[in-house]
Subunit: 141 residues, 2 copies
């Protein structure tokens, strides 16, 4: 079940009104995974952002765990806007529920909710910019 009120708290929806999110509901996907499932595999194509609504995942690269991400957080932002091989593997550490937006769904949102779309892309770009800064700071250490 997709709880649009809960989605409002994710950074991608910053500034987007609850009624706008509600209108996007037909464009969302909803998936459940078991512990050990891999919704994203490094090097394999992915075209979705995943909003974790319940559960916890491990992010790994080259088989090495690099982070854990949980309810209230997202993964797949980069693949959403730039359909390319996934940058990391994501493994469910426990039963996992996610809401997704695919690249094709995002395109439909851009047509039906252009204002909300612009806000979402702006939020996404800000998030990517912050990550670049963080990597940059790490690289400088």
């Amino acid at each position: 079940m997709i709880d649009t009120n809960a989605l409002q708290t994710y950074s991608l929806f910053g500034g987007v009104l609850p009624e706008q999110i509600e209108k996007m509901r037909p464009f969302f996907g909803y998936f459940q995974y078991q512990a050990g499932d891999t919704p994203m595999i490094e090097g394999a194509p992915n075209d979705k952002i995943f909003f974790i609504t319940s559960g916890r995942v491990e992010i790994s690269k080259h088989g090495i765990p690099i982070a854990e991400v949980a309810e209230g957080e997202t993964f797949g932002e980069m693949e959403l806007i730039d359909v390319m091989p996934s940058i990391a593997t994501v493994t469910a550490l426990e039963p996992l529920e996610v809401v997704t937006i695919s690249n094709a769904a995002l395109y439909k949102i851009s047509k039906s909710e252009p204002k909300a779309f612009a806000l979402m892309i702006m939020n996404l770009a800000r998030d990517l910019s912050r990550r670049l800064r963080r990597m940059d700071e790490l690289a400088a250490k």
Copy 2:
């Protein structure tokens, strides 16, 4: 002088129609610098993207040159969407002409040209995503 046809070739304007760029003209800035001038200083506030329309600059961090960028390329993308201290210093290597879009101008564009705005932000997010991938590949080596 701002040549809107030339601007169309920059990745930020990918998919934006020439007539839409023409309508944005009042929101653009235009600056000229001399060799040795520093349009962007690491750690100092910046709120603009710079389109180099003539000339060449050096990008440096902590006083160390890391790249050169020339006509047809941009700098300041990250600062445009996330007004924060500049991530690097940019020094003109020769007489430099730039067209700029400030954060405030971008806001005006979002109001007057929402479709073009959405495309521009999408292009920007893609560019940041590619840079993240590149840094990520370098970090993995």
